[in-house]
Amino acid sequence: MKSSWWTRASGALVLAATTAAAQTRPLIAVKFVLQEALYRNEYSPQDVLKIERGVADTLAQLLSRRFGFVQFDSSGTAPQTLVVTLNRKDLGSGAQRHETGFYVRLATAAAMGQDRYWRMFRPIEEYLAARGTSAAFMKEVQARFEVDELESIQDLLRSIPISTQATLWQDATDIGWILPFRRADLCMDFETTLRIANTIRVGVDKRKDFRAKATGDFSDTSSALGTLRGNVVGMATDPTADLAILRTTPANAIIVNGVFIEHYHRSDTACAAPAAPQATSFPVAPGGGPP
């Protein structure tokens, strides 16, 4: 039980491999590309640019609302860029009519990333329907993002570490990681699942990922990690046998490479009013839901 685990937290052994200092969320640039020739040729280059910027702004706002663990910015540049492209679905087809839809990819300076089809914009029957003015078209595109179908985005964001720091913590029965964020920083519900990527130096470097679930705020004030009080703690959910290596390896041989969000559960309550650290219990935050 969470509460029983956390009530023992004060007596736990801290095996901090990395001190998790407070840090900012990762920044991702958002870019929208109007790729489909039918739409691109409809408008002047200035209007196309206006549409692309307008939709990117909308996307950044929407994604920021949905995914609190990342900062989305449509105006600047960042090491990683979420590129949303509007294009025809069947790119290799020579047919006259096509379904059009959105593709998403995560691009870095080193790699363009692979487009994946996200969702439909217009069905094939409406391919040749009037596009309207650039303002009307932009609204139509923006309206398509109001529906919650963000699984593809979530998939892409799974590859983005929200931090390269986490503090390993364990006691006799449980193992967890203290994240360098408070719940309010990430607007995160305690149902969110995490992936902690580690390098374990046992003769040779061994990469090992562990699954964890954010279950509460760190509240131990008695140990050396008192400064992390109030930070989110993710408890390992892997089978005990898989976790054994963490117990048998010296703390300084376990290096956290990155903390990734597997399934994000947003909590508007946590975001609006950060919960005070609780020493004795870590109730599941109300609200939130699947992104």
Partner: protein, 367 residues
């Protein structure tokens, strides 16, 4: 004294000279004409005693009559050729023949011998008056002048279905009053057109045909058959394909038609709207063309193809400055509301009356 006077003395007749029987006639004498040109002279209370031959009857009018007849025949033929009227058409010749044939019989029944004789004399006098050489010559002169300075133009459709209007105007003059022609090959006839023995140039304008100028000569006139002597003016139907049509649905999009002159393009027409565009004469879209279009669209009538077919079937007729002539090179460009060229087609016109030209998408290439 001449021979006639001597003869009169020998026979006891009074010689009255050869220019009228009233000369040198005693006051108590009257003269009566006879049917044989003999003037019978007598004293007032006497029975006829002397007859004088009217030598004026010796001057034959046959050449004049023959000449006048020839002139009449020529005039009749000329009128038939240039005015569409003829004595044979109007029945006047038949009336004259009938009158000549029946006239004597009627007169014989109605009139006394003497009255008949008087009428005959009167007719003869009239004929002699008319058949004077000077008059006949004047009539010939008038006829020749008319025939050499007036002519006609006749324009007839190329098929029984052809109908419309035609205007014939002297070269470099403003357009004249159009006259209708057809259907059923009914010609439009322009009569009493001024010309001269060396011909005069006229321009013939018929909607749907390429205007042309002809020399109108006298006598023969000008006979024009549409489609043969006057080439049909080609019409062009520019038909945007479904993708290009979709651009034309947006306000601000447009089509521009230009004539290619060498490397340059001169814009001659423009339009808006998601439909086809017709330049030239109004045409009903042939059903064969509609069937071809349906095949282009996959041969199936559905919501999309029906909308496209309707857009193609009801073209917008664009005004052009002058009818197209074979050899004209046209370029059609479709621009989206953003000003991008999204459709391009070009065509060189030949003699087809209606040319169907599809405007495919992808206007990136050079026109």
């Amino acid at each position: 004294m001449n021979r006639a006077a001597l003869l009169a003395r020998r026979t006891g007749q009074t010689y009255c000279g050869n220019r009228g029987s009233t000369l040198a006639r005693p006051p108590n004498e009257i003269s009566l004409p006879t049917a044989q040109g003999i003037v019978v002279t007598q004293n007032a209370g006497d029975a006829p005693t002397r007859a004088v031959r009217d030598t004026s009857a010796d001057a034959s009018v046959v050449p004049q009559a023959l000449s006048l007849a020839i002139l009449a025949v020529i005039a009749d033929l000329w009128l038939e050729q240039h005015a569409g009227v003829s004595s044979s058409h109007t029945g006047s010749l038949a009336t004259i023949i009938t009158a000549i044939g029946l006239g004597p019989a009627v007169l014989e029944q109605l009139l006394k011998k003497r009255e008949r004789s008087e009428i005959v004399v009167w007719i003869r006098k009239m004929l002699r008056a008319v058949l004077k050489t000077e008059i006949v010559a004047a009539l010939w002169a008038i006829g020749l002048v008319v025939m050499l300075t007036r002519s006609s133009v006749e324009v007839v459709g190329g098929s029984p279905e052809d109908s419309g209007t035609v205007a014939v105007t002297p070269a470099a003059a403003s357009a004249g009053t159009p006259i209708s022609f057809g259907p059923k090959l009914e010609p439009a006839r322009f009569t009493w057109m001024a010309t001269n023995p060396f011909g005069r140039r006229y321009t013939v304008d018929v909607p749907g045909y390429v205007s042309a100028s002809f020399v109108l000569f006298p006598i023969a006139g000008l006979r024009i058959t549409l489609g043969k002597d006057l080439q049909p003016s080609p019409s062009v139907l520019f038909r945007p394909d479904p993708v290009v049509l979709s651009y034309l649905k947006s306000g601000g999009s447009r089509i521009r038609i230009s004539v290619r002159h060498g490397a340059g393009l001169d814009s001659i027409a423009g339009g808006r709207g998601a439909q086809s565009f017709l330049l030239g004469n109004a045409h009903v879209i042939p059903s064969e063309m509609l069937q071809d279009w349906l095949l282009e669209l996959g041969g199936v009538i559905n919501e999309g193809s029906a909308e496209t077919l309707l857009a193609w079937k009801h073209p917008l007729n664009l005004r052009i400055p002058s009818p197209f002539v074979p050899g004209t090179s046209l370029v059609a460009e479709v621009f989206s509301q953003g000003g991008n060229r999204v459709g391009l087609a070009d065509v060189v016109l030949h003699t087809e009356r209606l040319v169907d030209v599809e405007i495919p998408g992808g206007g990136e290439r050079q026109p």
